[in-house]
Symmetry: C2
Subunit: 206 residues, 2 copies
Amino acid sequence: MRELTQRQKDVATFISTFIKEHNYAPSVRDIADHFQFSVKAAHDHLKALEAKQVIKTKSGISRSIEVIGSEFFPREEMIQIPLIGSIAAGMPLMSEENTEYLLSIPATMLRNTRNTYFALRIRGESMIEEGIYDGDIAILRKCEVADTGDIVAATVGEEEMGITLKLYYPSNGNIELRPANSTMGPIITRSCKIHGKLHLLIRNYA
Amino acid sequence: MRELTQRQKDVATFISTFIKEHNYAPSVRDIADHFQFSVKAAHDHLKALEAKQVIKTKSGISRSIEVIGSEFFPREEMIQIPLIGSIAAGMPLMSEENTEYLLSIPATMLRNTRNTYFALRIRGESMIEEGIYDGDIAILRKCEVADTGDIVAATVGEEEMGITLKLYYPSNGNIELRPANSTMGPIITRSCKIHGKLHLLIRNYA
DNA sequence: TGTTTTACTATACAATTGTTGATGTTCTTT
DNA sequence: AAAGAACATCAACAATTGTATAGTAAAACA
């Protein structure tokens, strides 16, 4: 298998552009018309591009061309993340009904596509020395365990008390949830529920 | 015109889900098959949903249903923002050829859709006291003027010297570009070129 | 040199798909 | 009670669209 020819790149570019412009994929004839060649030529190009893993099509289904990742046409993989409320403001339930809206984050900015992520709005100044400010949006990876020093979203005691974002420091039996704010003391507890680890922070200036 | 009925919501949800799953819109028959009703029923639903501004279709073009904004199916408007390099690391040119990749940001997180935005990777500790850390990604709105106290990306003198992110403080004839780091001094200059204002900050923990 | 790949033309068939007419039921609103 | 909207069926037509056959020709490769 050789690499893409110029003509194939042109066709792939056209498809990619067409999808962005129209929100649906071109038909074989849309491609043929644009390049002023026959329907078969267009179809052959699609086969070639599919063999070279640039596009994917579903046989028999119209306008089903999908531009997939490749050296020449890197697809921007997006992950949808629900923003499920504010940290330390009641109880942001981990359910889809509580989703304020979905954030789209490029997969390249996250570690692993297969993990589940969720987002919370930061309230308060407890993590200010880590550069996490009131109003910031934290994107967390859902997980139950954390390593020492990780920034985690956790609930201590009753879930209704609300989630806190803190530094995780376990020490012989106890768990210390440290704020990054010298005016505040840590929460020391026997057990807490970890909801996720901080992976991304988004701040809005306006 | 009344609001959406439960059935119409179901149909709209199906379409929305189908598009996410398949990357192409359902045909009229895909909808009919799923709900076990006739093709005409599906088609009528599409007309109703279009009249109610929930979807948009192109007549005669297969699989051209597009779910648009509405009370019940708020469309997440995305803005593509080019990441054009690192701040204070050579010269990140404001051109599309220098785009490392495109970030997708929900429009709701930005002030104005019509503005031009670009992104830069932060290098150095000069804005650490504003909670802006090395490696953070700054999303800026392209503009030439700024207000006192704004965080701006600017170049002083030759453009090749590189862009800096600083606090903007003009004072009778001079322009002071203040770092947010007490160990560093401000840049005081007669003139500088402002490239944009900071609007969004993204930090990756991993 | 021969083989493979690329890049097409022209034509055609069949499946997919959008669209419509005629018609009826149920529910809500006036 | 009347009117309209919503929801539905069956059947049919026409346009769109994917796929294929039968070639031609040039370029790339081994």
